[in-house]
């Protein structure tokens, strides 16, 4: 038995973390956040070269046929560095859509491109996870009209995969006639969230209309696990930055980290955060190996990590005092990533309700 990373996964983690940490000093995060597109091309290219986009793609399509667990290891590393890359959409959600419901030709074409890093996807699932305001899509034949909000990584993507209702998936070229996309001004500037307006835009169905409910459900599970892993990585960094700051910062002739008020905050952070690691690992493992448990574990991994992540982000900011509130420290990039992830694909209340439903607790 081994509850944790295999030797190979340990190497993968070291490689991805090492690369991302080198590429994302605070100054550069600040720089690429300024344009708010959620894409830093060199980092994305580096991840492609490390094989990161193909981890859940079968070998016949150029991938490495690893699994969601490996993707989760990568997502955690992305969260640690708030790297602005369309990973979850392109390397996790799009392949699941295509593998679950795509035709042979679609799989052949797009999965190879994803493995090779030749395409970026944006993914919009809010029709299945919660519709806001006047959003809504309508499919007539192969013409798509309406509005999709919070299309993940949608701003710079080449292709968009959108849920229409909770049982139909379509793919639309981001430059198609009749398609307009606008940046949503979310506080997290490291991820490009888009509003997509469609007026009779040509699209391609992924699977027959009404046949993709199960695939969409798998995308939501994987997305929740991946977002939880990102938030976990971000929260762990915030915790240790707060600890380090508390050891450096002196007041009353002693490091503030020697005051129990600060020590206890740190102890609470790590006590609540550490179990999230095991919960996320297990959820990813369930996704790969125990499909009957995957949805429930994904809900709990997301809800619990986001509650804890929020608490950690707040406590870590507090420990930095006034500096935590400034842009100088840059902590807010991690805080904002956690805040955005909390809401995507269902906030804690929604995912807990989904967990209850899965157990037959909702009449």
């Amino acid at each position: 038995m081994n509850f944790g990373l295999s030797d190979e996964q340990g190497l993968l983690q070291d490689a991805i973390r090492g690369f991302l940490e080198e590429q994302t000093p605070l100054d550069s995060i600040r720089e690429f956040a300024a344009d708010g597109n959620g894409l830093q091309a060199e980092i994305w290219q580096g991840l492609i070269e490390l094989g990161a986009t193909g981890v859940i793609i079968p070998e016949q399509f150029g991938g490495s046929a690893l699994g969601m667990f490996d993707a989760t290891v990568i997502m955690e590393a992305i969260g640690r560095t708030v790297a602005p890359v369309p990973y979850i959409s392109t390397a996790v959600l799009a392949p699941i859509a295509l593998l679950g419901s795509g035709s042979d030709a679609q799989q052949q074409d797009w999965l190879n491109k994803i493995s090779a890093g030749d395409v970026m996807f944006g993914v919009g699932l809010t029709e299945a996870t919660g519709v806001r305001r006047d959003a809504g899509l309508k499919l007539v034949g192969s013409k798509l009209s309406g509005k999709a909000l919070f299309v993940i990584d949608g701003l710079k993507a080449d292709q968009l995969i959108l849920a229409v209702g909770s049982d139909t998936l379509v793919m639309v070229d981001a430059n198609a006639m009749g398609l307009t996309r606008n940046r949503l001004n979310v506080s997290d500037k490291t991820r490009g969230m888009a509003e997509v307006l469609l007026d009779q835009a040509d699209c391609e169905l992924i699977g027959a209309a009404g046949s993709a409910a199960q695939t969409i459900s798998k995308m939501i599970d994987a997305g929740r696990i991946g977002l939880a892993a990102e938030s976990f990585g971000a929260a762990e960094i915030l915790l240790y930055r707060a600890r380090d700051y508390a050891l450096e910062r002196n007041q009353f002739e002693r490091p503030i980290g020697s005051f129990q008020s600060i020590k206890h905050l740190c102890a609470e952070m790590i006590s609540d955060l550490e179990p999230c690691r095991s919960l996320i690992w297990y959820a990813a493992y369930a996704y790969d190996e125990l499909p009957e448990e995957a949805s429930l574990m994904a809900c709990h991994a997301k809800a619990n990590t986001q509650e804890v992540g929020k608490m950690v982000a707040r406590s870590a900011t507090e420990i930095h005092g006034g500096m935590g509130f400034t842009d100088l420290m840059g902590l807010h990039y991690w805080l904002k990533r956690i805040e955005l992830n909390r809401q995507l694909l269902g906030g804690p209340e929604a995912t807990r309700e989904a967990a209850a439903r899965l157990q037959g607790l909702v009449a």
Partner: protein
């Protein structure tokens, strides 16, 4: 990640399940053994004997000392826990003698001490209490003042202990006393084995918020025991006690038990109604239940991670430090929700006719012991931040005649 158990372990699970099926009808429940504060009944002792013979308790204690003599196997231990809790069958006695003294004697006792005490203790024939805390020595245990002086071939003990659970029916006490008053505080303590029938011991029950006398105060006046009734050397008692505390910290906080409580809570919420609406159908309560389930899953899987690390020879990290702290609050909140879903009915306890099957109020009140006992949650947080996160100790302060001053 590989969570598949080997064929040997899957076979072992089947063996445990078959055993439980065979004995379920006559076996005492978890609560019947661990939920009482009284000496083990003949019935419980009979069950304990069966468990030892089959290797379901005292599993790794060598045969020559009365145990089963099995090899240490963490996964088998886990399987036993899981299956017994699922079947609501008692895994046997767990008093402080068994969970703390026995491992300590096996580690540090003389051959004679092991021969004399281990067997009778695990069989439930000898019941122990722990004489550690004092009114003035709680979180700062090493400042204890109960003293023992040597007169001839005897220790003469004087002082006062508190929180000695089960002292009112114990046969023996493992007790910390100050034998070297001039040594630094951690080096002046000895660990003694004291028969509770010795003249000079007065035990007064300490009624707790549960209404029961789970604990006692113990007054010691010229209590005389042989100088050979010591574990390890004079002045080494702190080291011996720490070997024991290590076992206690592991003991408090069992996610499998919390899981059983959460399952009971789910059952309660499907049955209990207000204005004819089931608790589980009220979204606010349902959300609280799901929050607790998420935290429980985290802690349960975290414990599995720790077990796996242990199994694979990984050095322990900060992970082990958080289990006791987190489980204590989680248990408290599970019981709290049990009470809240029952509303006014939740305040009933001790066998009121309107109570539900389980005594949620009493379990809730009892859960404070988990938060405070074995090192309060605040002490746990000091330990987690210092040992887990490498943060400094709070500087010591002293009171001089001008006010508080740093030392």
């Amino acid at each position: 990640m590989d969570l598949k158990f080997s064929e040997e372990h899957e076979g072992f699970r089947k063996q445990v399940q078959a055993f439980l099926k065979e004995h379920k009808a006559t076996a005492p429940t978890m609560k019947a053994v661990n939920g009482t504060s009284a000496a083990p009944t003949p019935e419980v002792k009979r069950w304990q004997k069966i468990l030892i013979e089959n290797g379901y308790t005292a599993r790794t204690i060598p045969k020559e000392y009365g145990g089963y003599g099995g090899e240490a196997d963490l996964i088998k231990g886990l399987i036993i826990q899981e299956e017994f809790i699922a079947a609501d069958v008692s895994t046997g006695l767990t008093g402080q003698g068994i969970s703390m003294l026995v491992p300590t004697l096996l580690e540090l006792g003389t051959e004679e001490q092991k021969q004399k005490w281990v067997g009778p203790t695990i069989r439930g024939e000898v019941v122990w209490c722990q004489g550690y805390s004092e009114p003035g020595a709680g979180s700062d245990l090493a400042s204890l003042k109960t003293k023992a002086v040597v007169e001839g071939d005897q220790f003469v003990i004087n002082g006062q202990k508190i929180w000695t659970s089960s002292a009112h029916f114990s046969d023996m006490c493992f007790i910390l006393v100050r034998t070297e008053p001039d040594a630094p505080k951690h080096h002046g303590i000895s660990y003694l084995l004291m028969p509770m029938t010795t003249p000079g011991i007065e035990v007064r029950p300490l009624v707790t918020i549960t209404g029961d006398a789970m604990f006692n105060e113990m007054f010691l006046t010229d209590v005389k025991i042989g100088v050979d009734q010591i574990v390890d050397q004079r002045g080494k008692g702190w080291m011996v006690a720490n070997a024991t505390l290590k076992h206690e910290r592991g003991m408090i906080g069992n996610p499998a038990q919390t899981e059983a409580n959460l399952n009971a809570l789910m059952k309660l919420m499907k049955a209990e109604t207000c204005d004819g609406i089931r608790a589980v159908d009220m979204p606010v309560y349902r959300d609280r239940l799901m929050r607790l389930q998420g935290r429980l899953l985290g802690l349960k899987l975290h414990s599995l991670r720790l077990l796996s690390d242990d199994l694979n020879g990984k050095a322990p990290d900060h992970g082990g430090l958080i289990v006791k702290y987190s489980s204590a609050y989680l248990n408290h909140e599970v019981y709290s929700l049990g009470i809240d879903v029952m509303g006014e009915l939740g305040t009933l306890y001790n066998g009121d006719a309107y109570q539900s099957e389980l005594d949620w109020q009493k379990m809730y009140l009892g859960s404070f012991a988990g938060i405070i006992g074995g090192g309060t949650a605040q002490i746990q947080k000091n330990v987690i931040s210092e040992r887990g996160l490498g943060m400094p100790r709070e500087p010591r302060v002293t009171l001089d005649n001008k006010g508080w001053a740093m030392m």
